[in-house]
Amino acid sequence: MGRKLLLEHINVPGINTLEVYRQKGGYAAVEKALKTLTPDEVVEEVKKSGLRGRGGAGFPTGMKWSFLAKPEGVPRYLVCNADESEPGTFKDRYLMTYIPHLLIEGMIAASYALGANTSYIYVRGEMMPQIRILERAIAEAKNAGLLGKNIFGTGYNLELYVQPGGGAYICGEETALLESLEGKRGNPRIKPPFPAIAGLYGCPTVVNNVESIAAVVPIINEGGDEYAKIGIGRSTGTKLISASGNLKKPGVYEIELGVPVEEFIYSDEYCGGIANGKRLKAVVAGGSSVPILPANLILKTINNEARLMSYESLSDGGFATGSMMGSGGFIAFDEDQCIVRNTWNFSRFYHHESCGQCSPCREGTGWMEKVLHRLEYGHGKMSDMDLLVDVSKKIEGNTICPLGDAAAWPVASAIRHFRDEFEWHVTNAAEATSRNYGLANYADPLPKVEKAEA
């Protein structure tokens, strides 16, 4: 059994209430931090832990905190990025729904470390249940003196607010999030300056993912060195993985980084194998924006060693043979799934979500989607694959924010690894358009409706 740090008490009845959360040792980390550690010592513990950002980029959290400018007389802000909208990723909302006080405790500890007296949790607008849950938990914490003025009698003050977002994927990008939080259109800012220098309202700001902030709690409880012992290499600690697709047991799992991918897919502790006794065809390992890998490359690295669930192992060999840990959105495809349709679906999403500020992303995402649509619907050409690869290259790395890369990588990797399937769509257009893409086992809801009416 892998060690659980974030979801240890997830099954305890009432863990979403302050009372039960404190019975299980909740808010001990904040008390320890505020009473026994200086803010710099908290930052040092996070640095020692080797925690890497859990939102997708994997940048060392402690290092990010240490970049924060500390000018005199200027407020500093901590913003929690709870916009979670990467297709295939649903771990943050799970954490917020079932154990909201863990996030709030992490927010207090992190805010103290950064010297922030006002912090925000920016939640995607559609996630209204989670917003309500967080608001209730904040009210509970405030009534108990854990938020507001003079927390634990230490003289430290913190106001914590929940802010619903506009419901655009791009608002998960940290600078677009800050724009949105300031009440403006959620367009990414051009960097530099980075938020650590000029973030929310032009003040030094740190933006961290929900899981990264929640992980601060066990880091303070156990110490950074102990936390760093979990995991493998530079991938330390535990990670929440949202597993979906054709798996026997999809869901949110907390793994110790370094678990073999094969074990994660096939062991009963995690996903239990591929549903309906099918074979694994491909995996998107870190949310829809990362390159897709065929079964052979997701199970073995370029050196023919077992691939592990870690930042380094998943990116092994670059994008030709590897992928990324990303946000931990693990999507498995069985042998019946159509990669062309899936790629078109992803591409459709990125086209829809492009903010439209910079030319390659604005025009290129739509172009790719239209070519993929034509391939999917039996009007494609053999030259379309080269065209798609070229257009994706023209977008990748040339845009203001990483949405361009996110749109380009799935398309380029799908063609790299599944070109045969794309070509089959061109040569067998009629057959390709008549397939039902694995929906055969799902009951058609229409007869039930008719029956009910009768």
């Binding site: 655009a168 259109r185 051009i190 530099p192 086209h351 829809h352 979500e353 492009s354 903010c355 439209g356 500020q357 910079c358 030319s359 390659p360 604005r362 025009e363 290129g364 995402t365 739509g366 172009w367 239209k370 065209l387 290259k393 023209k394 977008i395 790395g397 040339n398 845009t399 203001i400």
Partner: protein, 330 residues
């Protein structure tokens, strides 16, 4: 601090952008800019035509930057080395940007008022392909009437945001902006309002393409048949320094004076632009000096004067081959 662009070193003030450092050198090594406008705060970084490769970050940290950067929004570091026209990667990326920009910009130059003064036309000529690979429907719009002076052709707009920045920063009322997102974005007035204030005409000058046109000039002439003349008048609203565009004896258009990069030197008011169309209204200063790049300069091209370093560096000679050939031809 020193920065080297395509092998040419220049001393610049701290905080200068790569683009402006290149502009201090001049010539072909200056990256093109469709959305950056030095007079508009916060502009730039969007069109991605000015992407360059930073092959050496600085003296302190000589590592190259991992991606191409927007030269208009990246400040120089001491000892930085930048490649513009000497980097095949940059040229390839720029070709890609031009192709993307031309997806939703019609090649209707024969009927466009901006023809001959269009930055995208120049960019397309320098980096564009003979044929597009885009085979789908282009987006089209009805022409939007945004007042009695300005016509908006949204079909031609490349969403550079310059006019939005102008409206924000130069005029005292902002009546238009960006609606929608992604490739559905469009410049529009909110609920079809008119753009009407003393400085609204400047949005026409900053538009790099023919999306915003002057209703008092539209379809009256082709720009290369006109004669630009510098003039000024005492104006209580603006500097009063303009360029008059003559057709025969008649002033058919008035614009702000533009520099070599197509940016107006000072913004002018609507009275000067739209209401003063008689020679008697102005004090004439003399003919306007026209850039060799402009079609208006037909028959009086400036002679190319390459910097000594260009003459001695084979790499730069190759990069400036086209200019050298043009000089020989002339």
């Amino acid at each position: 601090m020193k920065v080297t662009i395509d092998g040419i070193t220049v001393d610049v003030e701290p905080g200068t952008s790569i683009l402006n450092a290149a502009r201090q050198i001049g010539g072909d090594i200056v990256p093109p800019a469709m959305c950056y406008y030095s007079k508009l705060e916060g502009s730039g970084g969007k069109c991605r035509t000015c992407l360059v490769k930073v092959s050496k970050g600085s003296e302190k940290d000589p590592r190259p930057m991992p991606k191409l950067v927007a030269s208009c929004r990246t400040t120089v570091m001491d000892g930085m080395e930048v490649q513009n026209i000497t980097s095949p990667e940059v040229i390839e990326a720029r070709k890609g940007v031009v192709e993307m920009l031309l997806i939703n910009h019609p090649l209707d130059c024969p009927v466009c008022d901006q023809a001959g003064e269009c930055h995208l036309q120049d960019l397309g000529y320098e980096h564009g392909a003979a044929k597009t690979r885009y085979e789908f429907d282009r987006r089209t719009f009805e022409k939007i009437d945004i007042g009695d002076k300005i016509q908006l052709h949204m079909t031609r707009c490349i969403l550079c945001y310059r006019c939005v920045f102008t409206a924000d920063q130069i005029t005292n009322t902002r009546l238009h902006g960006i609606l929608n997102r992604g490739d559905h974005s469009e410049i529009s007035t909110y609920i079809q309002k008119a753009v009407d204030n003393d400085f609204s005409g400047n949005v026409i000058d900053v538009c790099p393409v023919g999306a915003l046109t002057d209703k008092t000039f539209r379809f009256k002439n082709r720009v290369w048949f006109t004669k630009p003349v510098e003039a000024h008048r005492d104006c209580d609203k603006c500097c009063g320094k303009v360029t008059l565009w003559y057709k025969g004896e008649d002033v058919i258009r008035v614009t702000g004076r533009k520099d070599v990069y197509g940016e107006v030197e000072e913004f002018i008011c609507n009275t000067c632009r739209f209401d003063k169309k008689k020679t008697a209204d102005w004090t004439i200063e003399g003919p306007r000096k026209v850039s060799h790049k402009s079609v208006i300069s037909a028959n009086h091209y400036e002679t190319m004067k390459p910097l000594p370093v260009v003459k001695t560096n084979p790499l730069l000679q190759e990069a400036n081959k086209e200019q050298f050939e043009r000089e020989t031809r002339l």
